[in-house]
């Protein structure tokens, strides 16, 4: 796992300060969506090899949720953004 994460608020920090929630690409379906869609959203996850976007929380730092774009093979971190910024960009 990538051992140094560049938090957009705090700078370069060790991964021990973060907790990982998981895949950041899943989109919450509408409340009226079918059971299959909800089942897929709640339980089914891809397990990709290579570039991956994940939600990480900087639990011991600024406590913000971040979207970490990293490669789980080479451990290279491409990009780290505040999840609120990402959500705003998606909404636009």
């Amino acid at each position: 796992m990538a051992s140094l994460i560049k938090c957009p608020h705090c700078g370069v920090r060790p991964r021990e300060e973060f907790s990982v929630r998981g895949d950041a690409s899943v989109v919450r379906p509408s409340p009226a969506a079918s059971d299959e869609e909800w089942h897929r959203y709640v339980h089914i996850r891809e397990n990709p090899r290579g570039p991956y976007r994940e939600h990480w929380q900087h639990a011991a730092g600024c406590r913000r949720w971040l979207v970490v774009h990293r490669n789980n093979v080479t451990h290279e971190v491409y990009d780290v953004m505040d999840a609120a910024t990402v959500a705003k960009e998606v909404a636009q």
Partner: protein, 181 residues
């Protein structure tokens, strides 16, 4: 039933047995500090940052993009809370829940370097800079007050652990410890 409550510092009893004088490297436990936590809405963060810097006899410690701790040794928590109200901020008195430690001396970076995983070089951790980070595996706020002087604000419940870790890691540098204030 009436309760008789006593205001007792979290490190009372842990610090006895240490020498009463201070060596070159010294860990001071600051008593009677007012600590206020401040949280503002994201759109008001810039205004709040400027306003917090102007609060007299206090210093603002950054805890995140919209969060700060206001620390003052001379002012009361109530008077700081009054100022926070004018900022339209969510503010809570944390004075009884936090312990403030000040570590200073020529080897302070080598001692802290055993506890934190951030770069403490003066160019990187500038004077006046502060941040939440892991110190000896627990979350706390570290601030650089002056050249070789750092201040740690830690949760009361973790204070004994952190104090003992700092003392152990500072032993090779003759770190002394004592209360001030």
């Amino acid at each position: 039933m009436s309760l008789s409550l006593q205001n007792r510092h979290a490190l009372e009893g842990h610090i006895s047995g240490f020498s009463s004088f201070s060596n070159a490297n010294h860990l001071s436990i600051v008593r009677g500090v007012a600590v206020i936590s401040i949280l503002v809405q994201p759109q008001r963060a810039e205004d709040a940052r400027r306003a917090l810097a102007t609060i007299a006899e206090s210093s603002a410690r950054s805890c995140g993009p919209f969060e700060w701790l206001i620390v003052s040794e001379t002012r009361s928590a109530d008077s700081l809370l009054q100022e926070a109200i004018s900022l339209d901020a969510a503010s809570v008195d944390q004075s009884d829940g936090r312990v403030v430690m000040r570590i200073a001396g020529p080897d302070v970076r080598r001692i802290l370097g055993k506890c934190v995983a951030v770069d403490l070089h003066p160019d990187s951790f500038a004077e006046g800079y502060s941040a939440n980070l892991l110190i000896a595996r627990i979350g706390a706020n570290l601030a650089r007050l002056a050249g070789d002087c750092f201040e740690i604000v830690v949760d009361r419940s973790n204070a004994v652990w952190l104090f003992e870790e700092l003392v152990a890691r500072g032993r090779e540098f003759d770190l002394s410890a004592g209360f001030v204030g």
